[in-house]
Each structure stands twice: as C-alpha cells, then as structure tokens.
Amino acid sequence: MNVMGRPTSRGRFGEFGGVYVPESLIAACSELEEAFESSWIDPEFRAEYYRILSNYAGRPTPLTFVKRLSEKLGVEIYLKREDLNHTGSHKINNVIGQALLTKRMGKKRIIAETGAGQHGVATATAAALFGLDATVFMGEVDVKRQELNVFRMKLLGTEVVPVSSGSKTLKDAINEAMRDWVANVQSTHYCIGSVMGPHPYPYMVREFQRIIGDEAQAQFDEEIGGDPDFVVACVGGGSNAAGTFAGFASKENTRLVGVEPSGGAAIGRGSPGIVHGMRTMLLQDEFGQVSEAQSVSAGLDYPGVGPEHSFLHSIGRSEYYQVDDDEVLEATMVLSQSEGIIPALEPAHAVAWVLREAGKIIPLGSKVVVTMSGRGDKDASVVAELLKDRLA
C-alpha cells in the first residue's frame, strides 16, 4: 500500500484514527472534511497557501549542515530549520492552512489548544492576519512555564483561557477546546495543532505540515544527493514528525525515527485507546482512565499521539524511541554551544537521541536529517532554572 497516503473514507490508518466525537460535532467534521478536500485540490487555494508561507512566514526554511557536532559524533547531521519560521516553529504551516479554510467555511472565530504555546502563538498570529476572533485554551501549569508565549498571544489580540481541570496541561486544554467547540460549532472553527483528533484532522494537519518533509527531501537531494539514512523528529502529538516523514516515507532506505519523552511515550509505553476523537496509542491505567504525562517539555506533555504514528509503528515503517529530561537538557546545551542554535525543548528530544545513539543505532558515517521544529526562546526561564548550577 501507499504508506502515508490517504486514510480510508472514515479516517482510518489501519486500526487507528476514526471519528469518535459527540453527535453535535459530526456535521462540523464532515463540513471541514469537504472544505479541506475541495481546497487541497484547488490550485488557487494552494497558491495562496504557498504565497503566505513564502512572503509572510519566511519559507523555504534552510537545511543546515552542523559541522562541529557532526565531526564530534562521527555522523553527518543536517537540521531542517523550522525554528526560523515566523513565530518560531513549524506550527505556522498548519495554522495558515486552517485559517484559510476557516475563511472558506465562512466562520469568524477560531479556537485552539496549546501546550508549549507555539501553536497558540501561531493561531493568534493567523487570527490577526486574517481578522478572526481567537480564543486559546492552555493548561494552568503551562501558562506558568510558558509565560513569554502567553504574553505574545495576548499582545496579538487573542484571549487566553487558563484550564484548571485534570492535569492542567495539554490534554485538559484539548478537552476544554472541544467543549467550547460543541457549544459554538456553527460560528467557530477548532484549529487543532497536531496530527490528532477526529478525521479529517490527522490527515489534514499532516498535509499542511508535509511541506517540511517535501522541502527537506528536495534540499537533501540537491545539496547532498541521494537519500538520508535517518530522519529524526520529536513526537508529542507528532505533527512535525508526520510532516517530515511524509517527504521521505517512499524512500525505502531511509529510517524514520520519532523521539518521545520518556514521561509521555504513548507509543513506547501506551496501549490502544480512544480519546480526543481518535483511536490511537494512549497512556492509560488499568481501567481506561487516561494517565497524566510528565515531561519538561510542555509541547510533548501529552498522553496520546497522532493515529498515523500508531499505524506507522504497527507496520514497522517508523521507529519510536524515548529520551529523558536530563538527556534533553544536555542536548539543549550541546547544540547551543557547538552550533549557536538554541533549540526548543521539543526538538532537543530529537537531538538528544542522535547524541546518544551516534555510533550505536546510528552507524558511524550515516547521514541524518533532524527536524528543528522550534527555537528555544520560549523555554529560557525553565531552562535557566534547571541549568542554573551548570551555567553559573
């Protein structure tokens, strides 16, 4: 079969995916599916999407060979620089697409969940650009640890609603956004930030993010030639990974690697379950109550994962490994000091895995593409606290 092609008509990737939403939302999911399907084959829609990504968001992003780190590790490392996008992460790729769809559907308001705040900031930015009202739901724990992004959203004119239920992180922000959507579905588009949720979101968001992988593949082919041996990206919900993998899924000799936080490893430590509109791998207890993830990175602090990742894992097309918080902090320091690139804590997971596995899982001499999904400014206060003794 065509790996990373279309899901089935009801949004299935193998046994994962689907549309597990209340009846109140069924019509909205169908409306969105039709809007996306008709737009994505419309040359005018595509042209506008690419034009905004180019002259507003700053695409294409470069593929940067990191020489010093590569020499030290004995593998060639290329960073796909999504951190250089406007707003500082890959999230803008998806949000521009969904904001255009919101206009097409004639809706005036968008809502979003956010963990690290990157998707929230991207949504707030698009709302300002397109003149839409925006509300972003964010767990109270994340509001505290991602203060800078909360301020950016407010400055952009977006209402930020702190969520105090459950674990007060990303999972609960999604619950609250879904509840708002149920109440306001006729006027409001829910701009989900990752390859998760009910169909068509996992497929649609992957398509809006595939520009990462398509660009990286073309750049690699032109600048280096051939295919990389490894493509590595961090996975929470998994949108930057899905977008990256989409560009390389047909390259049989390229291994696709997703890196999960050890405290939120839905694929590594979960079992199939149903939450947030999808059937996917999920951290849950013996009764089916969803567990709370624990990660230094607010953006990966999520007990589920996009259903397509669960599928790619089940058929063995991509591999998933875990790194812990200490390895992530170490990787943040190493990349900053060897290359002058301060990564967000999320892509620092991908870097940490490469640091650990170079010469082990990754044979010496391998060519490795790593998606640098976002820049580290937003994490400065968290990292400063955790590294205060080492950077004194």
């Binding site: 009801r10 689907g18 549309v19 597990y20 939403v21 209340p22 009846e23 109140s24 939302l25 069924i26 019509a27 909205a28 239920s165 459950g166 999972k171 609960d172 619950n175 879904m178 509840r179 149920v182 109440a183 306001n184 579905v185 006729q186 199939p272 379950g273 149903i274 939450v275 947030h276 509109g277 059937r279 999920l282 849950q284 009764f287 089916g288 109550q289 969803v290």
Partner: protein, 261 residues
C-alpha cells in the same frame, strides 16, 4: 432480572405519560446507592448511572467535578457495576460513559458486567453511529439497548436514521453545548423535540440544559420526557444526599405529571 428501557418506557409514551430519567454519577460519595434508590422512589422512570471517565468532553464543570471526585475516591467501572449487581432496583438502569472505558475493558467483558449488574441500556456520547458497529453486535447479543443521541446540528435525513437505529429511547440534545445547569431552557430544546416527534416511534427525551421543574415541564411539552443530570448532581456535590435528591426529583415528577393529566 434486567429491566429493559423499551419495555418500561414505551407503555408510558403510549399512555402519554411524561418520562423522567435522572442522571447520577456512579461512585460519587459513599451513599450513591441510597441516592439511586431515593431517585427511583421519587418517581424516576429510569435512571442513567454515569461511570466516570478522566476526560469527559461532553460534560460541563458539575459532572467533571463529580467524575473526578468519584475517580479519586476509588470508583472504577467494575466497582460501580459490581455494586449494582448486588441489589435490585424498581426502575430500569442505563449506564452513561465514554467509549474508552468500554473499549479498555473489552466489549464482551463490559457487556458481561452490564448483564450481571442488570443494566439494560447504555449511552455513549463519544461513539457516533459510524463507529458503533462492533459495540452494537456485542450489545445486541446481550440484549443491551444502545441509546442514540441526536443534536440540533443533525440534519433531518440523519436524524431520521438515528431515530430508526435508536434503542430504549432517543436522546435529543436540547442545546448546543456540554452538560450543565442553565438559567433558561434553550429554544433549540423545544425545536428538537417537535422535530424528532415526527421521526420516532420510540420515546424522545430531551437532555442537556434541563435544569429545574419549570424547564422540565417546558421541554416535555414538545417531547416524551426529559433527562436531568447536572442540576441533580450539583445538589449531590453540595452534600444534599438521598433526601435532597428525593426532594428535587419529586419536584420534577410533579411538574411532568401536571402535563400528563
């Protein structure tokens, strides 16, 4: 013996008696079984018993809080259904929960628990008809009735199909929103009631946002009855216990009986 929703509720519909189905959260407080008995004694025609889930996306703050409290005090699907299995009740029971609870237990195993608990119906708000195939096959083999929800945004053709597929009763979502107490009944509640009346030969009950006796009466004018959850659970969270539950459900009963006369 399990009391089925349809065999108990259909005669009431046919006699034009308004149907009252209160909701309580299973495992909320040590006395939740006494609350259940009180609710039935006060005149409930059937009762929805919630099995709490960690991420209830169709529920507002009241039922979220009740769910969290019940889970924190150790309530599990098997503890709640196990407790029901030890008693008999004078009205049919339906379980209301989210599909992950059923999926994680295993469909056959969960249906077996319902059998033992003499629960005749289920309401699964995050399992739309398109995803329901496997569950319905299992449920039918256990003679468990699966209620269908119909929303204000459901188009007529689909609403007709859902009413056709519904077992036990049709759950007419009275307002666009999650469960919760509201100061006034939404216009959409009466609209959906009269819209579905033409599609369904099963009882059509309006739920979500029906918050007091007056609203129950207003909603029931356009339908066969009502489901009342948050307004009751809020009283339980405030510590009103079985007596408070009896008093509130009695008020609802009297208000509906005025329409039946």
């Amino acid at each position: 013996m399990t009391l089925s929703l349809s065999s108990h509720l259909n005669p009431k519909k046919n006699q034009s008696k308004k149907i009252l189905v209160p909701y309580i959260t299973g495992g909320l407080g040590d006395n939740w079984l006494e609350v259940l008995e009180a609710v039935i004694a006060a005149g409930a025609d059937a009762v929805e018993v919630g099995i709490p889930f960690s991420d209830p996306i169709m529920d507002g703050p009241v039922i979220q809080e009740a769910s969290q409290k019940a889970i924190e005090s150790g309530a599990t699907p098997s503890s709640i259904l196990g407790a029901l299995a030890k008693q008999s009740f004078g009205a049919p029971l339906a379980v209301m929960t989210y599909f992950n609870i059923v999926h994680h237990a295993g469909l056959q195993r969960f249906a077996g628990w319902l059998d033992e608990a003499k629960v005749g119906g289920v309401v699964l708000p995050d399992l739309p008809i398109e995803e329901m195939g496997d569950w319905r096959t299992v449920a039918k083999s256990h003679k468990i009735e699966t209620v269908q929800l119909v929303a204000p945004t459901t188009p007529d053709s689909r609403a007709r199909m859902l009413c056709e597929e519904a077992e036990g009763f049709v759950y007419a979502v009275g307002t666009m929103g999650v469960t919760g107490v509201r100061s006034a009944l939404s216009d959409s509640a009466t609209l959906i009631g009269s819209r579905l009346a033409g599609f369904s030969d099963k009882p059509v009950l309006i739920g979500i946002g029906v918050s007091n006796a007056q609203q129950a009466q207003q909603a029931a004018k356009s339908a066969d009855g009502v489901i009342v959850g948050s307004a009751l659970v809020r009283r339980l969270l405030a510590g009103e216990g079985p007596d408070g539950a009896f008093k509130f459900v009695s008020e609802l009963r009297h208000a509906l009986d005025e329409l039946s006369d």
